[in-house]
Symmetry: C2
DNA sequence: ATGAAAGCGCTAACAC
DNA sequence: GTGTTAGCGCTTTCAT
């Protein structure tokens, strides 16, 4: 059997088989006017019988639009990004767009992405997920003529975007701890060591909240670490080595909080009796571990980003900046300090 | 500013600017022979100066290959799939292939994927991740003439594939519990309700192990549920309602085990003193929760799958079936039964 | 309503 | 070595 050698039928084949001209076949298949019902019927029938589909590449070459959008993510196996991409994918697919995935896991990947622009001339748009594009990168992106650029899950003045207000989320977290009566509050600040350092709303919220509450901030209570469970665990160990322990911990993310929780318990301390802890995200495992947190709807951010993009592609008049709300979910890791 | 109207330069533009013919420009750019150093130098210089890159679509139209591969996944926000895609993406990118992502989250998505074949005529290959392709689906896939098809993370006789041996992984888990002296062992069987029911090696391992140990299996000790934390939690609740409790639980996956652990503890029972529990995967959170499990290297499966695919695309003589090993990681959720 | 023809941006075969 | 030419599979005038 030489089925291996079979080739895809072309429009010319279909036209010939249907006994019509090339142009007519094209129009018939695409539902354009100026085709008699009988002719259209015949073309459709032939195409159907032979399982014909047009070559998107050929048709795009002529039309100009690619029907693809690039999605650039710094991580994939992390819940936040998976959820985001799922949201994006669902609306893109429904709109008939294909999704080209680019992973920029570390600084080097990221540099080479913006240097080489592998998506160039391949997509109608690009969605940058979860990190702010720097000025130099923005300039490179300009080479992608005509491509719409939007950002999801990160602050971007420069591009249309959808995100949450990190400052507000942080304030909600701190507000909760403060309201419970905590005054000695530590922060585990999460950064991505593989990406350029960014000013963080979640960090700003900490200092602002403390300031508003007339609490002098103690630099020793702030520890900076990478975004992960083990890192959170280590950071917490550092905090526990302090002479005077914090009564509460504000972690930049749930995953960091998870690690911190383990360390606290392994040290023989109880949560929340000895130390309260709060995260941000509402990661699926937060409920499992009864972690109090600030919830954000990541999937929805993905959906809205993709919808915004489609609007841009259609040149609709649309909102170019969407900030989603976040809210406190009180579970069992926060309580008033004992001697509060 | 009408930069919006700027258009990408074509090869013809570059040729003209460099004062050479179209063919020469093409050869120069691609490093083909039969171009004088001086000419090549000039062409390269012009292209560089204008940030020119060839249109992949146009060049592919001529060459035949698309330079893209479709990756089909049933989930994204789940650790296993994110990890797998990261592995796949890393080698594909390095080889210059683009990755088209298709998400078939539920039965309907899956049906429409195989019915519409949105990747048809768009890719050189497709990688199916984490689910066995059914016969009817396989037939649809045949319409993608010339596309290589490989499978990752799921059993497939029909396609070249890389996976783990579920039967063996399950046997390792059961072997551990049995060796500890457990005889009343429950199984939380995880299935994907959104996908067609498949025979599971992880389930077979349970019955086989019990049989080999001359333990009569009690149907009440097997509970089937969907793949998730909450589902594991509920399943465990069911198990705890039994008149005679199991002394150990074998969960098909770590995430299911996580949920079960919560239920056990919420019921006031201790792990592993009252009930032992083991999972499969070595999810990042398994270490966090001290869960004993069977580790599999998912990322590596992704890498090997993509490498296998590249080999196939190059028509290399390569191994078309790779089964990765798994191994027991003993942590703190398993111990000998009290009255064992 | 329909067919012929030009051309999208490129590669490959062919002359020179 | 280099320029010209003929397509790749389609869409889109433009006649008819």
């Amino acid at each position: 059997m030489d089925s291996e050698q079979e080739r895809e039928l072309t429009l010319a084949d279909i036209a010939r088989l249907a006994g019509v001209g090339l142009g007519t076949a094209s129009r018939a298949l695409r539902g354009l006017p100026n085709v008699s019902p009988a002719t259209r019927q015949k073309v459709l029938e032939v195409a159907e019988r032979h399982d014909y589909v047009v070559s998107p590449d050929a048709s795009q070459l002529k039309k100009g639009a690619t029907g693809r959008v690039a999605v650039v993510v710094p991580h994939l196996s992390r819940w936040f990004f998976g959820e985001m991409v799922e949201g994006i994918e669902s609306v893109l697919r429904q709109a008939g767009y294909d999704l080209l995935l680019y992973h920029v896991g570390n600084l080097q990947d990221r540099q080479s992405f913006f240097e080489l622009l592998p998506a160039r001339r391949k997509v109608d748009a690009v969605i940058v997920v979860g990190f702010p594009v720097e000025e130099a990168e923005r300039q490179r992106l300009e080479l992608m003529l005509g491509a719409q650029i939007v950002a999801a899950g990160g602050q971007h003045e420069v591009y249309p975007h959808v995100c949450i207000d990190d400052l507000k989320a942080g304030s909600q977290a701190m507000g909760h701890l403060l309201a419970l009566g905590h005054r000695r509050i530590a922060m585990i600040e999460a950064i991505d060591p593989e990406q350029p350092r960014q000013p963080s709303g979640r960090s700003a919220a900490y200092h602002m909240a403390l300031n508003d509450a007339d609490i002098e901030s103690d630099p020793a209570l702030v520890v900076t670490t990478a975004w992960g469970i083990e890192q959170g665990s280590t950071a917490m160990a550092h905090l526990l080595s302090l002479a005077e322990l914090p009564t509460a911990v504000y972690a930049h993310s749930d995953e960091v909080a998870f690690g911190a929780m383990r360390t606290i318990r392994d040290a023989g301390l109880r949560i929340p009796e000895d130390i309260s802890i709060i995260g941000i995200d509402d990661h699926p495992h937060a409920a499992l571990l009864h972690l109090t947190t600030i919830k954000q709807d990541v999937r929805r951010q993905g959906v809205l980003t993709a919808q915004m993009l489609l609007g841009l592609l259609r040149h609709d008049e649309i909102e170019r900046s969407i900030t989603l709300g976040t809210h406190l979910i009180v579970r069992r890791t926060t309580a008033s300090p004992r001697n509060g």
